[in-house]
């Protein structure tokens, strides 16, 4: 999808902050992902037009960064760390149980991620880039369910505030 009028204004404001517009590519990709829940092919074309580059260049940059999802991932992105401080504190087991629990759930995308810089909370995860930890598998499922039912309000999938 293309940018809403409000987001188009935000995109132009972001571009104006840099000496060269191409620097705004990551901010614009975040904006597109916050709006649509993932970075659609249409968004990449629109960003290319805004920045005066080709869609292939936008895809080239976009595909390098793990936060950008190039296919739909559902409303909730659950990022579980399994790097060493989490490894020795149950991170891989937490990942496995969440993957099993939410297999086939269109709302919840469970992903394994590298160190989230929150090892004092190990094992740690993020739900739409909000930190939670340390967590048992049971506590993590209760937490994700809270986000699912709306008793916790999630950020946008790129970590921005919703509304």
């Amino acid at each position: 999808m293309t940018f809403t009028p409000d987001n188009l204004a935000r995109a132009r404001a972001a571009m104006a902050r840099y000496p060269y517009a191409k620097s705004a590519i990551l901010p614009l990709l975040h904006l597109a992902q916050d709006q649509d829940g993932w970075v659609t092919p249409e968004a990449m074309v629109e960003i290319a037009v805004l920045l005066g580059i080709t869609p292939a260049q936008v895809l080239g940059t976009c595909s390098f960064y793990t936060m950008f999802k190039r296919e739909p991932v559902g409303r909730l992105v659950v990022s579980v760390c399994t790097n060493v401080s989490c490894l020795v504190n149950g991170g891989p087991e937490l990942l496995q149980s969440l993957r099993t629990r939410y297999a086939g759930d269109d709302d919840v995308f469970v992903e394994e991620v590298e160190c989230l810089a929150a090892c004092d909370l190990a094992p740690v995860l993020q739900v739409n880039y909000e930190f939670h930890g340390p967590l048992t598998a049971e506590a993590a499922e209760a937490l994700v369910d809270d986000y699912k039912t709306g008793s916790r309000r999630p950020r946008a999938v790129s970590g921005g505030r919703v509304g």
Binding site: G60, T66, L87, C119, D120, Y129, G159
Partner: protein
């Protein structure tokens, strides 16, 4: 007597845990007083008499002299830029996130003073994309700082202007390399650049650029306020001042501890972080992030001194991330997980790293998962020597950035400290352990 912290950059956030990030709390605790003082001084006075004299060395990992870095900017070439490296991604390092989330005004003050000292009018904060709360707090803090004249045009009536742009990354460890960061900031894949030219000469948009870490910049206001000589009086040898160490793993109290350099690893791990939990023994520890070769219990009394750890222990204090592992830990499993990290984060630009990191991960995987072959350790060391010729620390480099040699750090550590255990995992009979295979 048990060792204790020396809180300078962590003072406000420890004293006011409930609101340290607000402009009100910051101002009540003297935020921006150092900026007022700095604006009465010449840029040279700040750079030479304070920052250079303080002995402050970069807190991101490389430990390069901060004042020296500033002094490399060529005369008369403008515009010049300040890029703030807030892309904290070295495994088990979590100090910058705390400083950003809980004392953003200290960072902003450091940015403004530094920009004034290097005659720069545009600064970019490259913030790790996953730090959503950090982005929110920093954005609010910037708005408050602009509103009160601490940033933006004509700062505090001095005539000095500075724009500060918050730029969120999007998930790439290699963007924390200073030239990878600049590429990313220009809208590209974060592939590090060949140096020279160094960023001071041709950095962002091919203009002179200083890249400084969050903790480094957060320290600058204190140095300006209390004097370079005061700071140089703290610490030990060429490791002056304090540093924040992120301690994690099998310790009772994982967390960030700001200590005067020169304290021992033992005091940090046992007195401050509470020692090994569940009544177990220490097996090994990683002293400075995933890229640093591991150390053993016999090294616990070594000082937190960057040069000592590099020269005497053939490792490094790096990013200040101390990972602690107890006797139940499989060194092969930890090595494999770190190798997997490097293989995932290798940007692919240099062949030794792109290909080698994947090989290391595959071989370590089978060793760690009971599928090791008798020749595996030799195999690792053999092709590893094409990434790190000589296999001796400090690592020689065949790649553009330090990620390449870092891939060999877990392997070199296994060979150095756990050779017998690894050979046994590889099915080499205990009787032949210790002999060349």
């Amino acid at each position: 007597m048990a060792a204790s912290e020396t809180r300078i950059v962590t003072k406000l956030l420890r004293d006011r845990p409930d609101d340290s990030w607000t402009i009100e709390a910051a101002l009540e605790n003297g935020a921006y007083d150092a900026l007022r003082k700095a604006l009465t001084m010449t840029p040279e006075q700040i750079g030479e008499e304070h920052v250079k004299a303080s002995g402050l060395r970069g807190r991101g990992g490389a430990g390069f002299g901060t004042g020296q870095k500033w002094s490399f900017l060529p005369d008369g070439v403008f515009p010049r830029y300040l890029a703030v490296n807030a892309d904290e991604g070295e495994p088990s390092t979590f100090k910058d996130r705390m400083l950003i989330e809980r004392d953003p005004h200290q960072l902003i003050e450091g940015i403004v003073i530094t920009a004034y000292a290097i005659d720069c009018h545009e600064a970019f904060v490259y913030l790790r994309g996953e730090f959503a709360l950090g982005a929110e707090r920093l954005e609010q803090a910037l708005a408050d700082a602009y509103a009160r004249g601490f940033a933006g045009p004509d700062i505090l009536g001095s005539g000095f202007d500075l724009e500060i742009v918050l730029h969120r990354g999007a998930g790439a460890y290699v963007a924390g390399d200073e030239t990878g960061l600049l590429e990313s900031l220009e809208g590209e894949r974060a592939l590090p650049r060949i140096k020279p030219p160094f960023p001071a000469i041709q950095g962002l948009y091919a203009q002179p650029t200083v890249v400084n870490n969050v903790e480094t910049l957060s320290t600058v206001p204190h140095i300006v306020q209390r004097g370079g000589d005061w700071y140089a009086g703290l610490g030990v040898n060429r490791s002056t001042g304090t540093r924040i160490f992120s301690v994690s793993g099998h310790v009772r109290r994982p967390g960030n501890y700001e200590v005067e350099l020169g304290m021992s690893f033992r005091e940090l791990i046992f007195d401050l972080a509470g020692g090994i939990r569940d009544g177990r023994e220490l097996k090994f520890f990683v002293p400075g992030g995933a890229s640093s070769p591991w150390l053993m219990p016999e090294h616990l009394d070594a000082p937190l001194d960057m040069d000592y750890v590099q020269n005497e222990l053939k490792s490094m204090l790096g990013s200040g991330a101390v990972m602690v592992f107890d006797e139940t830990t499989s060194p092969a499993l930890v090595a494999w997980r770190l190798a997997k990290f490097f293989a995932h984060e290798s940007c692919g630009k240099c062949t030794p790293c792109r290909e080698g990191s994947g090989w290391i991960e595959k071989v370590l995987y089978r060793i760690a998962h009971d599928e090791g072959r008798p020749e595996d350790l030799d195999l690792l060391l053999d092709f590893g020597a094409t990434i790190v010729p000589g296999l001796n620390a400090p690592f020689a480099q065949t790649t553009i950035c330090a990620l390449g040699p870092s891939t060999m750090s877990p392997v070199v550590s296994l060979e150095r400290w756990f050779r017998a255990e690894i050979l046994e995992l590889c099915g080499v009979a205990p009787s032949s352990v210790g002999r060349a295979i």
